[in-house]
Amino acid sequence: MNLVIQAENLSKWYGNVLGISEINLEIPPGVYGLLGPNGAGKSTLLKIMTGFLRPNLGQLRIFDQSPFDNPSLFKRIGYCPEYDAHYPTISGWEFILFRAKAFGLGETEATLAMQAVGLTEHMHKRIRQFSLGMRQRLKLASAIVHNPDLLILDEPLRGIDPLWRIKIIRLIREFGQKGKTVILSSHILPEVEAMTRQIILIHQGKIFALGDIDEIRTLLDSHPHQICVKTNNPRRLASFFLSDPHILGISFSKHDPSQVIFITHQRDHFYEKLLKILIEESFDLHEMSSPDDNLQNVFDYLIGRK
């Protein structure tokens, strides 16, 4: 298998603060979502991948080369940073053209990149006149102008309007379908879900899970979920679930008499049954929520497993 990224016992710390610790990764071509809460180590890992930091221990190789102080490797890497950083006095076109020419390309490639992100109409404006979403798209254009083999995107959809979100998601998926590699970092699960099934979960500087998103979901599903339902007759609703073997517990809120809390490890089964009962028995549904259905919980469970 052709590996694009290989990390072996990769560790990085800043004085007494740990960035990442003993990370081992082997990433073949494809689209991967790098997920983790704030401070998990995503940025540190990306900075090592893009050659801004050197690991304290271990090594990282991209296309079998170290990225630190290796400019020739960047012919094959495109990077879209998280920061809203720009050159205020130049136009979007001048910026992309500079990048294109630095890669030995010309106006054709620069034009294609601007078209891909929908900035041709505004390309001669100064970047300081761009909106946040336009600046974000410009960053993406600068990352893809040279058609790299590896695209590293840090929060690529930040500040982008819903219409362009769909287009960019499609762009990223198409990139992956061409056999290229995309690593996109985010702490928003739905964004990543829209672009890829492959997830790298990072927390407290360590890789906690690596694989298909459904596998991660299954990990989640094998642990009890809490689901809160607010209805006009909670006790009657609860009675329909008393004999259900998938329901591990039922409780009623002390503060809100209309709320009932179900605990189950078969969410999909529960939702299916609940929907059926709500319709057949004409319950009024006021609200439904799952307080622990989030990424943090995945990590909590995974930490518990560790």
Partner: protein
């Protein structure tokens, strides 16, 4: 197009469009404006009608050699890397397939050209106005040319030093201001070899006229190096500072958001 030439044009465009360029041009023209205003005032009968060439020369030399050629390189050349880090645009440069040191050196060249232009274009009219009555004399023209070229050489040396400061330090401007201004003044009071630990010493060695010094203590320890040697040393120092800056840029790590 060669990527470095492309980069040079890119950086040059930014410099020309920036506010700093316009403000420093204005600041550089202050001595010329003052001289023209004084001459006009004198013509109108104020402040006596005598030859004020000596005063104008003192103003010009003090202004440029103790202030302007220190400030301009300090601002532009420390910002070669510092500005990119502060703006967080260093990511766009260091993810190019161009050697970091060479890219920074290219940006340094762009700032150097602009600094030399600022100094040269501001100093020349001031020198011409100062010596307006003696311009036809060969000696005067030669002196003006040497002073002008010395200022450019001093600008080169200060620019290279500031470039190195910008790569080495997190706050190059603050530390640069305290090294360049007080140190360059203070070290001239020192006897022996210590004086040579400054750029101004070699600049003074090349100058055809002495820089005006108020403190008589300075004359006590005044010494010079032969002009050709001083020129070589200034060029050598500039090359060394640039090389050191390039070498350091390779080793340095960049934690984005550092100020």
């Amino acid at each position: 197009m060669n990527p470095l030439i492309n980069a040079y044009h890119f950086f040059s465009t930014q410099l020309r469009r920036g506010k700093a360029w316009k403000w420093f041009t204005l600041i550089g023209l202050i001595p010329s404006i003052i001289i023209i205003a004084t001459l006009s005032f004198s013509l109108a009968g104020g402040w006596g009608s005598g030859d004020k060439s000596n005063i104008f020369l003192e103003i010009t030399l003090n202004y440029f050699f103790k202030f302007y050629i220190l400030l301009v390189p300090l601002f532009f050349s420390t910002s070669v890397l510092a500005e990119e880090i502060e703006q967080q645009t260093v990511v766009y440069l260091f993810t190019l397939p161009i050697d970091r040191g060479r890219l920074l050196l290219t940006k340094f060249f762009a700032t150097l050209v602009h600094s030399l232009w600022l100094v040269g274009a501001s100093l020349l009219p001031a020198l011409i106005l100062t010596n307006q009555h003696h311009l036809t004399s060969f000696e005067t023209s030669k002196t003006i040319s040497v002073i002008w070229l010395t200022a450019l050489l001093g600008t080169l040396a200060y620019s290279a030093f500031s470039f190195l400061l910008g790569v080495l330090l997190r706050r190059p401007m603050l530390i640069g201001l305290f090294i360049v201004f007080p140190w360059e003044q203070f070290v001239q009071f020192m006897p022996g070899f210590v004086q040579k630990l400054s750029i101004i010493y070699f600049v003074k060695s090349i100058m055809p006229v002495a820089l005006p010094e108020k403190a008589s203590l300075l004359r006590l320890f005044q010494q010079t190096t032969p002009a050709p040697l001083a020129i070589l040393i200034l060029i050598g120092l500039s090359v060394f500072f640039c090389w050191a800056a390039m070498a350091r840029s390779h080793k340095r790590e960049y934690i984005m958001g550092e100020q």
